[in-house]
């Protein structure tokens, strides 16, 4: 059975809510992990390992957390598409346009759900 985006998002939210001691109802697809939550490197490690267990996948932190977004965005749309095939074209376009924002990572819980769906397909 394929994993739906909604189901994936719920699992991501449950996992993140527990780590940040938040009510799951406060979190949604557009919640930014680094900008809207008090996320530290220690938390990324926990999120990575929990997503791995929750989805039965091996999480590539580089791709899942959009670690090299700034560098790749400078290289252009093709580089972004190669590195983040789990994101929709529309989302990648959005990231390209937004790269001059507040300096905080624009990574959202929705992006993590997209990664989980993509990685679950093998």
């Amino acid at each position: 059975m394929t994993l739906s985006r909604d189901e994936a998002l719920q699992r991501v939210i449950d996992c993140v809510a527990e780590i940040f001691e938040r009510d799951a109802a406060e979190l949604h697809a557009r919640t930014r992990l680094m900008a809207d939550l008090p996320c530290e490197s220690i938390d990324l490690l926990e999120i990575s390992i929990r997503l791995g267990v929750a989805f039965g996948i091996s999480v590539d932190d580089e791709a899942a957390f959009l670690r090299s977004l700034r560098l790749l965005a400078d290289e252009g749309a093709a580089a972004l598409a190669r590195a983040y095939p789990h994101l929709s074209e529309q989302r990648r376009e959005e990231l390209l346009c937004r790269r001059e924002g507040d300096g905080l990572s624009p990574l959202t819980l929705g992006d993590l759900a997209d990664y989980a769906v993509w990685a679950s397909r093998g």
Binding site: I19, F20, E21, I42, L45, E46, S48, I49, R50, V53
Partner: protein
């Protein structure tokens, strides 16, 4: 250069008798004993800190507990580590100008309580809560978090306390078995005495009341079997072991000069420290107590050199209630003090709060400060037939004969530590 005089200008804790000098003093006055059956091994008594389980669920938390409870990474600290952190916060707050004694009020900024270069020495026990970590092999390792290891590392409490208090000086985690806390206090004392620091935060915390923690002592047959509601009986002929406790206590040590200059509330002065190793059995003390005695003599010699002209008026003995420790310690105390014109009063605080392992010395110092404020030396609970007729065991509540005394802790592995203090009014 004249060595600096070292005083205790902040004290805080979380012990089976209470979370402040006021609470501990009230418990002593009421004669309240904290012993209750272990949740895991109900045939044994333990002395827990309330609330059991998650500390953050205390019914009326003070500011320190609210800070700890609101810190979502606290779960990386095992219970003993959380007790050390909580005690450290309370001691730092107690040392601050304008704080009330008894954990009331709330600092405007926790990271401004102590100068940011204040060293931290933290006495920590081991993490033994194996069943509290269900992902360990042969369990399902997928249940382990990414950083489960932090709960098992000895320095996590130290790192946590530095973070919460904004400390950036030297920080060290100290262990010398049941003499850990006195070693940490002694190290802090020496640093200030030698002029290496003006102020040092010393914290200690330990808990062995988990299923596996208590099992460690049960298998070694060191625990009392008097009954699940009973405390140990230090120095009694019928003593049969100790009762495990948990707890934390912490102190701000400061040069007298600096403390006086800022008008600090002074609880006590440290006059001497002695530490030795038996270099013998991994568990049993040296049968003649030769090296423990050497530690006592070294601490007293340092105190005399620092101007101690009388006493000691009292001794807070290690007094675990085990056959071996108390026999060796009683013989040692007889050799040193029985022939004095006015021998010191011997207290055994573990009879009233159990044995807090690595935190024992700090918890006992906190209890002594509380007893001094309350004006009475606590009697040795359960002492009916003393193992020595030549020692002045405290059999009933009596006023302190004087402010000068010594604290002894003799740990597994033969690590001995003795601190000489003068209680301040």
């Amino acid at each position: 250069m004249t060595p600096a005089r070292v005083v205790i200008s902040g004290a805080g804790g979380c012990t089976p008798l209470g979370g402040s000098l006021v609470e501990v003093g009230a418990a002593l006055r009421a004669g309240r004993l904290p012993f209750a059956p272990s949740r895991h091994w109900p045939e044994f008594a333990v002395a827990p800190v309330e609330p059991q389980g998650d500390l953050a669920r205390a019914p009326s938390p003070d500011a320190a507990l609210r800070l700890l409870g609101g810190w979502r990474h606290r779960h990386y600290c095992h219970r003993g580590a959380q007790l050390a952190v909580l005690a450290g916060l309370r001691a730092a707050w107690d040392a601050a100008p304008g704080s009330a004694s008894g954990n009331e009020g709330r600092p405007a900024d926790w990271t401004a309580l102590l100068p940011e270069d204040t060293p931290l020495l933290l006495a920590a026990g081991p993490m033994l809560d194996v069943s509290g970590e269900p992902g360990l092999p042969p369990g399902d390792v997928n249940r382990l978090g990414a950083l489960w290891l932090l709960r098992w590392l000895p320095n996590t409490a130290t790192a946590a306390l530095c973070r919460l208090l904004g400390l950036h000086g030297e920080s060290l985690t100290v262990n010398a078995a049941c003499a850990s806390a006195l070693h940490a206090l002694g190290e802090g004392f020496r640093r200030i005495r030698r002029g290496e620091a003006v102020r040092v935060l010393v914290a200690a915390g330990d808990s062995r009341l988990s299923e596996a923690g208590l099992l460690g002592y049960a298998r070694a047959r060191t625990l009392s079997r008097r009954g699940p509601e009973c405390g140990p009986r230090p120095f009694d002929l019928a003593r049969d072991g100790f009762v495990a406790a948990e707890g934390g206590a912490a102190f701000v040590l400061e040069s007298l000069e600096a403390a006086t200059a800022r008008g600090a509330r002074i609880h006590a002065e440290i006059l001497g420290f002695g530490a030795t190793s038996d270099g013998g059995s991994l568990t049993a003390p040296d049968e003649e107590g030769r090296y423990a005695e050497r530690a006592v003599r070294a601490a007293l010699a340092e105190a005399v050199a620092a101007g101690m002209r009388e006493g000691p008026h009292w001794v807070s003995a290690h007094g675990t209630g085990t056959g071996r420790n108390d026999a060796v310690e009683a013989a040692l105390l007889e050799r040193l003090f029985a022939d004095m014109a006015t021998p010191p009063a011997i207290m055994a605080l573990k009879s009233r709060q159990g044995h807090a392992s690595a935190a024992a010395g700090a918890v006992e110092l906190l209890t002594l400060l509380a007893a001094w404020r309350a004006g009475v030396m606590p009697s040795i609970a359960g002492l009916e037939r003393p193992c020595s007729a030549r020692l002045a065991f405290v059999r009933e509540e009596t006023p302190f004969a004087g402010p000068l005394g010594l604290l002894e802790n003799f740990g597994f592995g033969g690590q001995n530590a003795v601190l000489v203090v003068r209680l301040w009014t």
